[in-house]
Amino acid sequence: MADKKTLTFALMDAPYENARSTTALRLINIAAKRGYDINVFAYEGAVFLPFAGQQAHPNPVHGHDAEQEDHPLPREWVEAVIKEAAKNGGKVDWVNCGLCVDERGAGDAVEGVRRGTPGDFWNMAESSDNTLVIPTK
């Protein structure tokens, strides 16, 4: 791919708190569809985005069982963009900030997520065409 890009995203928000993490994953999904190489540095609450312990639940207010509700699980979205990038000739290197993981007990992540440090974020940015920081507010 002649115009293949390498993009780095720094994410900071925990799942289920706002739309920023959803927007970030939508952008990552577009990059994955284009076969780009994608780096993600998940910092602070964002380390819970790929947390393997997320479970769908029924919603009695909606009158739905778990299957009908189809509750969004960001861990599945992370897995989906990793697969999508690979399918299109790219890759996702998802790094969870190790200390952020430790202080939250968020070590159980889906496959394809690795533990790292802020130094990984620096190296990712240096090797990328551009870096998008999506901070918490």
Binding site: T22, H62, A80
Partner: protein, 126 residues
Amino acid sequence: MKALNIIETAYRGTLEEQDDTIVWLTHALKGAGADLDVLLRANAVNYAVKAQKVAPLSFGDRQQKHGPDIANDIAGLIAKGVGVYIVKDDLAERGISDDELIDGLSPVSRDGLAKLLDGYDHVWHW
């Protein structure tokens, strides 16, 4: 005991939760026997707009079956006997007309808020 939930922050996490967490909480509390109402103010007045529609999200091969339907969730509160007040001034500032809204709302002006709030034992501003 009678309580009023004031919802001001709108669309916070609704894509992932598939509903507004305070609208959901109000449903749950009502179901548990609570006597409470809701006041929609600021950007949350948009929760009562009928025409809003959210397409299901998709990431790679993962497709959600449906998105949030907050106007319907508000209508469901009204059907359960929860009073849903909405600040008229906030609607006007956003150019939202009455015919765009779901049925059963109780419009209130900002001038009338102090009197409204005085009718509750608890006022919870989310």
